[in-house]
């Protein structure tokens, strides 16, 4: 249950021999993720924590038949790694890498339009379905099984909210970090559509931030949903024209401010939390 991944999902790790890749592969394995292999060009034949390493995704795909791949390769090689995963027919690609040139991502996303793969990220913490599987880098300890879906553009703020929910006895069906880059594979709406269909999910928390119109663009679908959505948007104090940490977190005179987003949600009758604690309160009110 939950969305996108579960116990049966066969996960590949691209960039598995790197510092972060190997550490996170271990963390995922400890969480219970069914890791079937890793890829690092030139390191084929070696092992990382008992996980077989291959030279290429196609080779790994032939041997291990993966459903998903989590990408940890450095920014300048990351787009290539995504193309490789797409061309190898990997259904779900989670790209953790931060700092990929936006022109690379535009090319990747354009290519994805005629491919059957789904890309989560880049610059994202990935996906966790508590009790099932984790394809990403969220801390193992914070999750708790339950019925709240979470989708967020953020990283640590997502952990904070998941942790807060769990401490308050509110478990999650699946938590999805879609990433903080201006151009990325999967949108709020895409994830909301999955949650809407998922019988285990009873309500969804949407965590947005400044920049772009991804939050506003989700309103149309949220209004059609049968399940309540609680929104939380950060960056009220962000000055326009400045990038706030995430490449995509930049508001301008042309739009993308937190207040605009919050107003749009309120106008559409969607619950808006002012801080993490309020998310908990609103969920408790609803359920």
């Amino acid at each position: 249950m939950g969305i996108l991944i579960d116990k049966t999902t066969r996960v590949l790790v691209q960039g598995i021999t790197g510092h972060e890749g190997s550490f996170q592969a271990k963390q995922m394995a400890e969480f219970g993720t069914n890791i079937v292999g890793g890829v690092t060009p030139g390191k084929g034949g070696s092992e990382v924590y008992g996980i077989a390493v291959f030279d290429s995704v196609s080779e790994a795909a032939g041997e291990t038949n993966p459903d998903a791949s989590v990408i940890f390769v450095p920014p300048r090689f990351a787009a290539d790694a995504i193309f490789e995963a797409i061309d190898s027919g990997i259904e779900l690609i989670v790209c953790i890498t931060e700092g990929i040139p936006v022109h690379d991502m535009m090319r990747v996303c354009s290519y994805l339009e005629s491919a059957s793969s789904r890309l989560i990220g880049p610059n994202c913490p990935g996906i966790t379905t508590p009790g099932e599987s984790k394809a990403g880098i969220m801390p193992n300890s914070i999750h708790r099984q339950g019925n709240i879906g979470l989708v967020s553009r953020s990283g640590t703020l997502t952990y904070e909210i998941i942790d807060l929910l769990s401490r308050n006895g509110i478990g999650q069906s699946t938590s999805v970090g879609i990433g903080g880059d201006p151009v990325s594979g999967t949108s709020f709406v895409d994830v909301l559509e999955f949650f809407e269909k998922d019988p285990k999910t009873h309500a969804v928390v949407l965590v947005g931030e400044i920049g772009g119109t991804a939050e506003e663009d989700s309103i149309g679908f949220i209004k059609q949903m049968s399940k309540p959505v609680i929104s939380y948007v950060v960056g009220i104090s962000a000055p326009p024209g400045k990038t706030m940490g995430h490449a995509g977190a930049i508001a301008s005179a042309g739009g993308g401010t937190a207040l605009e987003k919050i107003e749009a949600f309120e106008k559409a009758g969607i619950a808006v939390a002012k801080n993490p604690t309020e998310i908990v309160r609103i969920i408790k009110d609803i359920i």
Binding site: E20, R76, V102, M106, S110, S141, S154, G212, G245, K274
Partner: protein, 368 residues
């Protein structure tokens, strides 16, 4: 990274986009000389901000003496706090018509967006407000690049009779946009003058993430933003007095918002990134506390990759140097170890973001 008008025009020139003849100078005598060669010139302050014209940073001079005087005046100016050290002196091109041409990234469509408007010389946001129907927008597939027919359609919307010339400029601007990893490439205004079309102003913003394949280097300013960036962190100066150190951009923004909710004003945004360690934390604290306005500092860390005990050790090393009171909230990996280490120091420990924000605002307001 934003480019100076002069740098952007150099790139345009190298890519055959017509710009007025001109030079970059830093003393009034040079302005005089160039005006002697070029005739009527325009003298433009090279500062990284809009509204130069309104601030008096752009002047027309019809003879060398006038050029000298204007250059002298503008070189003494500060525009929005930025001192004017360099001027672009270029041939004056009388525009019969000023148009707008810009390429940006449409985040929702995930591709380049070219915008053209027969009304130029003002901000595109302004045009969008006053005459939105006069902006023609065309999305470009990043895999095929711009098609001739698209350049033609955009050009037709500007001037049907001269569309071939304009289409050529559009294709070259798109080439620049791609080749230089731009997030913005803008000609505003594009002037239709007696002797052809000219980019009278040029704006280019380069994707910082593409620096590994682009030959740009950011100007050294010695700013806190720069120091943070060099250390792999992200710092943005703000107007308030509460210093902030947070791991992760979203949590940092949330923390700033909470400070505001509790009536405080953040002095800065500071994202030490997810993998922050002892050394990073020390640097971060020094950067944030170097802002004299800072009355109190909040450190809000949710440890995933980051280990709270390492963060605590970094803080402890720098505590003797810091005068402002510290409010610290550590959660996640090795949370208890971190808190235990800090307990013997004169810092306020909070158990949630809200509690920390509330506490730091109180400390900031209390005159010590």
């Amino acid at each position: 990274m934003k480019l100076y008008e002069y740098d952007a025009k150099e790139i345009f020139k190298g890519n055959s986009i017509p710009v007025p003849e001109g030079s970059l100078i830093s003393n009034p005598g040079d302005a005089e000389n160039i005006a002697g060669k070029l005739g009527t010139v325009v003298i433009k302050a090279q500062v990284m901000t809009g509204g130069r014209g309104k601030a008096g940073g752009i002047a027309k001079a019809s003879n060398p003496k006038e050029a000298y005087k204007s250059a002298q005046r503008i070189l003494g100016m500060s525009i929005k706090g930025l001192p004017v050290n360099k001027l672009l002196v270029e041939e004056y091109k009388k525009p019969d018509k000023e148009m707008y041409l810009g390429i940006t990234i449409d985040r929702a469509a995930k591709c380049p967006l070219i915008m053209a408007s027969p009304e130029g010389g003002i901000d595109i946001e302004e045009i969008a407000k006053t005459s939105p129907r006069k902006i023609v927008k065309i999305h470009i597939n990043p895999l095929t690049g711009i098609h001739d027919y698209q350049a033609r359609m955009l050009a037709n919307s500007l001037n049907k009779n001269k569309s071939l010339m304009i289409a050529d400029i559009i294709k070259k601007l798109y080439r620049v946009f791609i080749d230089y990893d731009c997030t913005l490439a803008e000609i505003n205004p594009l002037a239709d003058a007696q002797d052809g079309f000219f980019a009278l102003d040029a704006r280019m913003v380069i994707d910082d993430n593409a620096f590994f394949r682009q030959d740009f280097r950011e100007e050294e300013t010695g700013s806190l933003e720069e120091t943070a960036k060099k250390n792999g962190m992200s710092y943005v100066g703000l107007d308030g007095d509460i210093g902030c150190i947070v791991n992760g951009a979203g949590l940092a923004m949330a923390t700033l918002d909470l400070i505001k909710q509790y009536g405080g004003e953040p002095a800065n945004f500071m994202d030490v990134r997810a993998g922050a360690n002892e050394e990073q934390m020390k640097i971060a604290l020094r950067i944030v506390s170097s802002n004299k306005k800072v009355k109190a500092i909040i450190i809000n860390v949710f440890g995933g990759l980051t280990k709270c005990d390492e963060v605590a050790r970094g803080i402890i090393d720098v505590i003797p140097e810091i005068k402002a009171p510290l409010v610290i909230r550590l959660a996640g990996t090795n949370e208890n170890e971190g808190r235990a280490l800090l307990e013997k120091y004169r810092v306020t420990l909070a158990s949630s973001s809200e509690e920390a924000a509330s506490a730091v605002v109180k400390l900031g307001n209390s005159d010590r």
